[in-house]
Amino acid sequence: MEVLYFAWVRERIGIPKERVESSAATVNDLIAELKAREPRYEAAFADLSALRVALNQELSEFDAPLAGVREVAFFPPMTGG
């Protein structure tokens, strides 16, 4: 799947997107896999209350299943308008 990062999440991880091969069942499982990789992921995902997740471009929850998901995006709360 394609994993995208925006705003300070992108800056902390250092890339805007990447292809991730994962068998994670839920978003939480995927986050655990990413955090285990490198400290920069650990830093980005340290406080989940400061993060939001979108699955296939729809706002979702961290316990949501990843079956059929092609695109996962992590970002801070939105500040439009």
Partner: protein, 150 residues
């Protein structure tokens, strides 16, 4: 309905005129009230510029969903949302919404609804560039609370 997510500057006056003309032509839409809102970059604390990042694809989808919900709820004759991204300096127009309804109460409410949802549910992130450096704008609890009234 017109949704535009763009880097280019736009003329809010020209947009209001075009929107009004479209509503006037579509007499069947029975539009008696148009409410518009424009948001500008404020020069808070010596802020010089703002960088607006967005999520191409999701941004358009999210705004379309917000606008369609407003259109159904207030039986709007037409809706317009323009939101810019990229680098903007103080005084520039960031975005605007316009809502056309049969009566003004619906048009005012729909415009407020659009603004409340664009603030917290459209994937934009603002970074302020000031004398002390660059900082991401944090979302306010008040903006999240504002959604509860709808």
């Amino acid at each position: 309905m017109r949704i535009s997510v763009q880097a280019e500057a736009f003329d809010p006056g020209a947009e209001v005129n075009a929107f009004t003309a479209t509503c006037a032509e579509a007499a069947a839409a029975n539009v008696g009230a148009i409410v518009t809102f424009s948001g500008l970059v404020r020069a808070d604390d010596g802020m010089q510029a703002m960088e607006i990042e967005h999520y191409p694809g999701m941004t358009e989808r999210a705004i379309t969903e917000i606008a369609e919900t407003a259109q159904r709820r207030w039986s709007l004759g037409d809706v317009l949302v323009i939101h810019r991204h990229g680098r903007l300096t103080a005084g520039e127009v960031i975005m605007m919404v316009a809502a056309a309804a049969r009566h003004r109460k619906d048009a005012f409410e729909a415009a407020e609804y659009l603004m409340d949802y664009l603030k917290s549910r459209a994937p934009f992130w603002k970074k302020e560039l000031g004398p002390e450096g660059a900082d991401w704008v944090a979302a306010k609890d008040a903006d999240e609370d504002a959604l509860k009234r709808w």
